[in-house]
């Protein structure tokens, strides 16, 4: 076991997959000579050279499209968007082409491409650079969307994504890059589409992923000190969404709070709550609560921005409303 950061875990996964398979290569803005805007690919250019670590122009549409085309023609590109905010420019390539070619041409072709994108708010980057638009991408069948909350999951999920024959968007919450955690030496894979119980409990189910999951874990810790036992389920994948462990937990606790950093309207919480009432209606003991970002563009000013984002207190307050 090594105790490493999420950044390191992602970097290790990339390096190991590139060593394992020559068809895996990286493309994106500043991924090479610079070493990656978030330093995930630091050293890769020297280690693998320009054939496998490709600096692109500032051209999101062609990053999305060319990575997809290269995947159709036998490679396994890992295309990095400098941040997910710029992936809006590539949305068409991702949802109309990467996510569709397999189906639309009757199974004749596949697009095993991975799009990596750091995202999330909380860094005083202002309204355009602070989005958590994960649901937008998760809306479309054909694309897989995963977003890890721990270094262990990050490494295993990224390996699964790269080895998958399907297109995957791998979202990295930028505030988690420094988060440390146990990661085993050597090769392992965390399958996509499998939710994971991160903490066991009996009184309430907290559902989250990525940074929201970390907030939920912290809330559970505080609640425990007050005698409230919260179970925490990590979705890990937004599509496919594995409701199994969530429903199982809910049938035990009869109460749920869904924690997500994105907006509440049309969000993950809305989806999970709807599924819970469909799949476990008889177990509903209280309204299902959602803790999410306020419905405002994120402001720059520090306290103002923090006020709009999710936090531990808001999760605890939501739990107390339904206990």
């Amino acid at each position: 076991m090594a105790f490493i950061t999420m950044r390191q875990a992602i970097s290790d996964a990339l390096r190991e997959e590139m060593k394992r398979d020559d068809t895996v290569f990286i493309m994106g803005e500043e991924v090479g000579v610079w070493g990656g805007t978030y330093a995930v690919t630091r050293g890769f250019y020297d280690e693998f050279g320009p054939r496998r670590v490709k600096d692109t122009p500032i051209s999101e549409m062609v990053i999305g499209g060319a990575a997809t085309g290269a995947a159709m023609n036998g490679l396994r590109p890992v295309a990095e968007f400098m941040t997910i905010n710029f992936a809006f420019l590539a949305l068409d390539a991702m949802v109309n082409h990467a996510a569709k070619v397999h189906y639309m041409f009757g199974g004749q072709m596949k697009a095993p491409v991975v799009f990596r994108a750091p995202g999330g708010g909380g860094r005083q980057l202002g309204a355009t650079h602070s989005h958590t638009p994960d649901v937008i991408f998760a809306h479309f069948p054909g694309l897989k969307v995963v977003s890890p909350s721990t270094p262990y999951d990050a490494k295993g999920l990224l390996k699964a994504a790269i080895r998958s024959d399907d297109p995957v968007l791998f979202i990295e919450h930028a505030t988690l890059y420094q988060l440390r955690g146990e990661v085993p030496e050597g090769d392992y894979v965390v399958p996509m589409g499998v939710s994971d119980v991160k903490r066991e409990g009996t009184d309430v189910t907290l559902v989250g992923y990525a940074q929201g999951l970390q907030v939920a874990l912290e809330a559970a810790e505080k609640l425990a000190r007050e005698g409230v036992s919260a179970e925490v389920v990590d979705l890990r994948s937004l599509r496919p969404l594995d409701m199994g462990p969530v429903v199982k937990s809910f049938k035990k606790t009869f109460k749920a709070v869904i924690v997500e950093e994105g907006y509440r309207s049309y969000g993950i919480g809305a989806e999970v709550a709807a599924r819970l009432q469909e799949e476990a209606f008889d177990y509903l003991d209280a309204p299902i609560k959602r803790v999410a970002q306020f419905e405002v563009p994120l402001p720059y000013s520090r306290d103002l921005e923090q006020a709009a984002l999710i936090n531990v207190d808001r999760v605890i307050a939501a739990v107390k409303e339904i206990l």
Binding site: P57, G106, S164
Partner: protein, 319 residues
């Protein structure tokens, strides 16, 4: 040019022309749904360019894609079946007119978002370069598509990375109802190429031999290490943009003038004048095409629609 080659081009162009006419009929009968974009008038472009490709070279285009399928040699029956939404269609009935593909023939398909396939072509080429092959990509798009961001980002990337793509602009003078000069700040498509390090060449897109020569030269230039190439094919679509086009944006005179340059007529006159073929030979080819189409229509009509279960297959490769 060998006689057999010229006659094959003639046959392909006639096949495309009559295939499209059949489609028009089947559309009127309600057997083809959705959007239908005919290639009538532009036949020499698909036939002449694809004739120049070597095994291993790729083809990818927009939604006006029937001709490219037929020119790469896709079977007429399954192509027509796709348009009828049948299970035996090239894309199992899930793509339709705008999304034909035949990957076994390196035809990566038609794409209905204007410009969306241009970066895909760039990526196909990137994969060939990465694998160290000599193969290139023929990427087709309309004049209207040269105004979209995808086009510019893709040409630039191909230029910077020296990717083996022949960008083939099919300038049929209009994007839907918008004439080139109303939509593009420069009216010659080739004038966009130098911005991305390509010279570009204007070609008479009604002359299949000229199209073939230019494409062969472009492919050779790529294999000689000269980087991506740009060809502007000057052509015209004789029919509307798609079915039901009110055709308010151009005059009958203009259409009639272009029809004098009918690509099939040009080749036919050449074959007869140079005594390469006589009328009887050409009529026999026409008859062969007619029979092929009768068979294709029968095949498509008699084929079943996809089973309900097909709705849920191929969403992902892995479940």
């Amino acid at each position: 040019m060998e006689k057999a080659t010229l006659l094959e081009w003639y046959r392909q162009m006639v096949l495309i022309r009559r295939f499209e006419q059949r489609c028009s009929d089947l559309y009127s009968l309600g057997k083809i749904g959705g959007f239908l974009h005919l290639y009538i008038g532009q036949e020499a472009v698909a036939v002449g360019t694809i004739a120049a490709r070597q095994p291993g070279d790729h083809v990818i285009t927009a939604y006006r894609d029937h001709a490219h399928a037929l020119a790469v040699g896709s079977e007429t029956g399954p192509v027509l079946a796709e348009l009828l939404g049948k299970a035996t269609g090239v894309s199992k009935g899930k793509g339709g007119s705008m999304h034909l593909a035949d990957v076994n023939r390196q035809y990566w398909g038609g794409y209905a978002v204007v410009g969306g396939h241009v970066p895909l072509a760039t990526g196909l080429a990137l994969a060939e370069q990465y694998k160290g092959t000599d193969n290139a990509v023929l990427c087709y798009f309309g004049d209207g598509s040269t105004n979209i961001g995808y086009f510019h980002e893709s040409l630039n990337l191909a230029g910077v990375w020296d990717l083996p793509v022949v960008f083939v602009a099919e300038n049929n003078q209009y994007g839907m109802g918008t004439a080139v000069e109303r939509a593009s700040a420069v009216t010659r498509m080739v004038d966009k190429a130098p911005a991305y390090g390509m010279e570009g060449k204007q070609v008479d897109g009604m002359d299949v031999m000229a199209v073939y020569e230019a494409t062969s030269a472009a492919l050779q230039a790529i294999r000689d290490g000269k980087g991506p190439q740009f060809l502007e094919m000057l052509t015209y679509r004789f029919e509307g943009h798609s079915m039901g086009d009110p055709l308010r944006y151009r005059t009958k005179d203009e259409v009639e003038k272009w029809r004098e340059d009918d690509p099939i007529g040009i080749l036919e006159r050449y074959l007869l004048k140079e005594n390469i073929a006589d009328r009887e030979e050409l009529e026999n080819l026409d008859k062969g095409v007619e029979q092929e189409l009768v068979d294709a229509v029968q095949f498509a009509e008699e084929s079943p629609f996809p089973a309900y279960e097909e709705l849920f297959t191929n969403i992902y490769v892995e479940d």
